[in-house]
């Protein structure tokens, strides 16, 4: 124990760290003291209590800060912390997947930032180091990148950083549109309608429905507005050497890079009312993002490419992600009319279309969903048919992509067409894998067990995933 304490060298974090980390506790303590009946009657006692909590908190925070030191060793970053229970964490550079500089709300007020190191298999807080001044954090990030990925990669990142700072955003979503779009979404309209009915029913008609039912409804109105307007405030899309980069958020600024090679599929959603105005939302499936913790709550939502945008913007964004792709140029095939027995209204909107790099499917007449999947990212192709569909000679074709919002399914196609589509889609996926793999193909192993001496493509498994 003692020798460890002696040997810990290294640097301390920013002296304001305990205050930035602990402000929440102070607020809670203050609120608790103020709200306590017994204490409120005795103001001196409350004052002393609050003071004691403050002093104690600052003292504890300061101790923790004093005993937390970080240093860079030959192949790892080492963090020593704790004053009663000492803890040493060593993160090897080659285990660091990505390094981000994040600025939570309070830290941003003080111009401070924390360093977040993504460690494969690690939890959310495992690689956090807070707080530094913003400049310090950036500098340390660069140093770590150099150590972790070599000079070249780091330089690239550096350029990216500069480019990010300089490059004008490709597009920005105005807050007014975010607010409008949220107000016109079906959750909000539905909840608001129900809430108004509830208020009218209770006050005017003297129904005693119970105002408690209003709480979830109120939540239904407020929560989406909060999430959209605060979470997506100032949504900016910009171009960097590593791919597109999104930036959003009012309090917690979130940045996300979308490397071009890792997009698995796209989903365009157009709710009923948005469609009249010409708005839609674009989301992405990105390999590794679905399960990753970018910032807590958005875990399985993939990435947002555009929270709400006009048609021209949607087309522009799509062309950035998929060069040479234009949704309008794709010949869409509508489902056969007998599908109306299963989808009386929606069958008209069940379409699919294919070009040489993607397959597009649409469905839904209230909320239109357009899924775009890349041929060379296809995981598997499935054809399904239920008893009713068999009567009508219809079948569904699913094109599966990894976890994410995209859900490409050509519903209720003619079964002969569906069977042909499955074969064609498997063929296209195979061809796309070959052509895309051609320049980087690595012969890993002869394909010995193939029955007919196949010439199947061999590609490095780390092909796309290596560039992170």
């Amino acid at each position: 124990m003692t020798e460890q304490a002696v040997e810990t060298v290294g640097q301390r974090l920013h002296p304001l760290t305990p205050f930035v980390k602990g402000w929440g506790y102070f607020v809670v303590a203050a609120v608790a003291l103020v709200n306590n009946e017994g204490l409120r009657s005795n103001l001196t006692f409350a004052g002393i209590g609050l003071g004691a909590v403050l002093v104690g908190g600052i003292l504890l925070g300061a101790l923790s800060w004093w005993y937390t030191k970080w240093q860079l060793t030959g192949d790892a970053i080492r963090v020593d912390s704790g004053f009663l229970f000492r803890r040493t964490r060593i993160i090897r550079f080659d285990r660091i997947q990505a390094i981000d500089v994040a600025q939570p709300f309070v830290a941003r007020l003080f111009g401070m930032a924390e360093l977040r190191m993504d460690v494969a298999g690690g939890g959310k807080s495992d690689g956090k180091l807070s707080y530094f001044t913003y400049a310090e954090a950036q500098e340390l990030r660069t140093t770590l990148l150099v150590r972790a990925k070599g000079e070249q990669a780091a330089e690239q990142q550096e350029h990216e950083q500069q480019a990010e700072a300089e490059a004008p955003p490709l597009l920005t979503v105005p807050t007014a549109r975010l607010l409008g779009a949220t107000l016109l979404s079906s959750t909000v309209i539905g909840s608001a309608g129900a809430l108004i009915w509830l208020i009218v029913a209770t006050t005017v008609l003297n129904f005693h429905v119970g105002l408690f039912a209003g709480l979830p409804l109120l939540l239904g109105v407020v929560q989406p507005i909060w999430k959209q307007v605060v979470g997506n405030h100032g949504f900016t899309l910009s171009d960097t050497s590593h791919g597109l980069r999104t930036k959003r958020g009012l309090f917690d600024v979130q940045r996300q890079t979308i490397p071009a090679g890792r997009v698995q599929g796209l989903l365009i959603t157009e709710p009923l009312i948005w469609r009249l105005i010409g708005w839609s939302r674009v989301e992405l499936d990105i390999a590794g993002v679905a399960g990753q913790k970018e910032d807590g709550d958005d875990e399985h939502e993939g990435a947002q490419l555009l929270p709400v945008g006009e048609r021209t913007e949607v087309a522009y964004v799509l062309s950035r992600v998929l060069p040479g792709f234009n949704l309008a140029n794709i010949q869409m095939h509508v489902a056969p009319e007998r599908a109306k027995w299963l989808r009386p209204i929606g069958w008209r909107y069940l379409t699919y279309g294919v070009d040489d790099q993607v397959m597009v499917t649409t469905r839904g007449w209230v909320s239109r969903r357009t899924s775009i999947v890349l041929h060379h990212k296809t995981q598997s192709v499935r054809m399904e048919q239920g008893p009713l569909q068999r009567r009508l000679g219809l079948a569904d074709v699913h094109v599966d992509t990894p976890m994410g919002p995209t859900d490409a399914v050509a519903l209720h196609r003619d079964q002969v067409e569906a069977a042909a589509l499955v074969q064609a889609q498997a063929e296209r996926a195979r061809e796309a894998r070959r052509t895309v793999s051609a320049p980087v193909a690595v012969q890993t192993q002869p394909n010995a067990p193939s029955p007919d001496g196949s010439s199947s493509s061999a590609a490095s498994p780390a092909d796309d995933s290596s560039d992170r």
């Binding site: 995981q379 054809m383 599966d400 498997a426 195979r430 192993q445 394909n447 493509s457 498994p461």
Partner: protein
């Protein structure tokens, strides 16, 4: 019409007929338990006539299940194409899955106690998507082992990053 779910350009391998025997045995156990519970519950509460009626209904359902299981077993088949594994199954709800070997994340070979007693195993291919449903039940353990080795060899040779 049937070949829509089983394209004829590949040779299809059926699964073991013992799969039907196994499933029928499973169904028999379930039906037997259900029959006893129904007979006792209805017999003691409403009268033995109802209990016996319930048992007759369960027996009829079991008979139906017997036939369905047979048909379902005959519908299971798989094929190994140059680059993909194809699995086709189902009579009421038909499904054809095409999985490229290179998309494989891992292969499972499973065998429960009853399956082991009948000398059978299930091979399941997993990709990065949970919705990929490439499962082949009712394989001889040797065949399951061969398939597993072949799939993992091919999966490695053609492996593809996400």
């Amino acid at each position: 019409m049937d070949d829509l779910f089983a394209p004829s350009d590949v040779s299809w391998t059926p699964v073991s007929p013992k799969l039907a025997t196994l499933r029928r045995l499973n169904a028999a156990i379930m039906a037997g338990l259900a029959a006893i519970v129904a007979l006792l519950a209805l017999g003691l509460s409403l009268g033995w006539l109802y209990g016996v009626l319930a048992v007759v209904v369960i027996a009829l359902l079991f008979g139906w299940a017997w036939i369905l299981i047979g048909r379902n077993q005959r519908s299971w088949r798989y094929a190994e194409r140059e680059d993909e594994l194809l699995v086709s199954h189902g009579i009421m709800f038909r499904e054809l899955v095409v999985v490229p070997y290179g998309r494989m994340q891992f292969v499972d070979v499973k065998a429960g106690p009853l399956e082991r007693a009948y000398g059978m195993a299930t091979v399941e291919l997993h990709t990065a998507t949970p919705s990929t449903d490439a499962k082949i039940p009712g394989l001889h353990p040797d065949e399951a082992g061969r398939l597993r080795d072949r799939l993992s060899a091919l999966g490695q040779a053609q492996a593809w990053g996400l």
